[in-house]
Symmetry: C2
Subunit: 303 residues, 2 copies
């Protein structure tokens, strides 16, 4: 039990991955917990399932755990809590890192899932040489991790980087946060499906369905991704004025279809951005394997 | 000549103040240079006038200058340049800090005027206890200095914090930057005058004129400030999602009329901000005397 390892946890709206990670940054083993198995009750049995998974991974591989890093939606770095996460079954405020730290006696640190991805990208991915960048996660929601001067911006209350809840269409679509016109209501799994269904009569179930149609030449599917790129470009032109990033990096399932929305994104960004930033911002896809980045990012929190 | 002092320079669209500042942060003396005296020629005679003012102040008070701090519109911290400043007579890119450093042999540091004001506010004003705040300067333009985790955000290229050039009204008023609908086109001296003249038939020349009318009960003047607060509130609700500030601080002539636009600003901000940030952000007026803050902020750059 003397080889030090770390635990990286990626809490998502659908499933949670508990990864055992070596000092060298290799994911040795992982355990998956399905949110739906715990969604109808309080959060504690879900947290206990995470603790059990950690203990099992540690015993199975005969390694000591030096720290637990957790990425979670609406995660609060300062308090180790998940707070008012619209895409999780547990509303209000829930202590996660303190719960695991108390139960297991292992230092536990939690942050926003997008912040964790940004840290992972800087440590292991395409952001190695960037001190100023924005990482955007495209999944159930739209998350963002903002790095400025080499540091993740947490803000006063630990909630900085909620670019998904900047308004892109005044009085637009209803957002899960209760307001109207947030970027996330347009650019996310749900947003993409809604955009497609506004244009087309047939029904699709996933962004992958729309991407397949677009690759096959379906004009509504192509237009769905074009509009997606346009909405992103508009808000990223604004985002540039705040933190002047060297790069904006896209992460998550939808980012795999970057060929379909990067051209419109880049065109809209360059048209709308202040000339101080024009033709300076790199638009990139994550450099990490989709299944590993969130776990590695969470791990990097405690390394 | 052995008592160490600093020079703080505030370069503005109308005039430039060269201040001699003691180690204790007291402005000992100042020299004013009018931009119009140099506007028709190249920038070098203007820079030479600053260098002469520094030498004169140093000789007059028999003090050694330990450093020169400069706040300037579109100032670039990394390069010490003023770049593409729409409200200055010299367009393109001009080396300012390197020029003074070469000429005088004194370490010279330059940044955006709003960043300088933010540093001044943190060192000497109402932001002493804040590590995460946004300072907004309301003058010829709308500038912003963003402090996150105790550090000014400069961004990749030294131009972070151009909140005045985030779009508040898509396809709206023409902005001096060449685009349409920027916040600065609505909230600035020019913006306030334009808003008033859209509502009223009589002519006013300054925001102070409008403020006086509003104080006297003129409904168009009251509405001008109310709309100003509304536009600010809308964009600040977005700004909160980027850096989650503890406070937003207003600086400059128009900020003196805060009673006239803070109520609408606060209402619009709280209505439009994500619930993670609701009722958490302090809206404050600068705690520094209008004529000193920019010079003290610039000085703090080299202290």
């Amino acid at each position: 039990m003397n080889i030090k390892h770390y635990i990286g946890i990626d809490i998502g709206g659908t499933s949670t991955t508990v990864g055992l990670v070596s000092k060298a940054g290799k994911i040795v083993d992982r355990s998956i917990i399905l949110i739906q198995d715990y969604a109808s009750g309080p959060i504690e049995p879900f947290l206990d399932a995470m603790a059990d998974a950690i203990t099992e991974l540690s015993e199975k591989h005969q390694v000591e755990i030096s720290g637990i890093g957790i990425g979670a939606p609406n995660g609060n770095f300062y308090r180790g809590t998940i707070e008012y996460a619209p895409n999780m079954p547990w509303k209000d405020v829930h202590e996660v890192a303190p719960y695991l730290e108390n139960k297991l006696g292992i230092r536990s640190v939690l942050t926003n899932d997008a912040n964790a991805a940004a840290i992972g990208e800087k440590q292991f991915g395409v952001a190695k040489d960037f001190d100023d960048f924005i990482l955007i996660t495209l999944g159930t929601g739209l998350g963002s991790g903002i790095v400025a001067g080499g540091n993740v911006i947490y803000g006063h209350d630990g909630f900085a980087g909620e670019l998904g809840h900047a308004i892109v269409v005044p009085d637009g679509r209803n957002c899960t946060c209760g307001r109207k016109g947030c970027l996330e209501a347009y650019v996310s799994i749900r947003g993409l499906l809604e955009t497609y269904h506004e244009l087309a009569d047939d029904k699709v179930n996933t962004p992958q369905d729309i991407a397949a149609k677009a690759q096959a030449g379906d004009p509504n599917a192509i237009e769905t991704f074009r509009k997606t790129g346009e909405w992103l470009g508009l808000k990223l032109a604004d985002a540039a004025t705040y933190t002047s990033p060297e790069a904006i990096i896209f992460f998550g399932g939808i980012a795999q279809s970057s060929d379909l929305f990067f051209p419109a994104l880049k065109e809209t960004l360059e048209t709308n951005v202040h000339n101080l930033y024009r033709n300076k911002i790199k638009i990139l896809k994550s450099g990490l394997p989709l299944n590993d980045a969130a776990v590695l990012g969470s791990t990097a929190l405690v390394m």
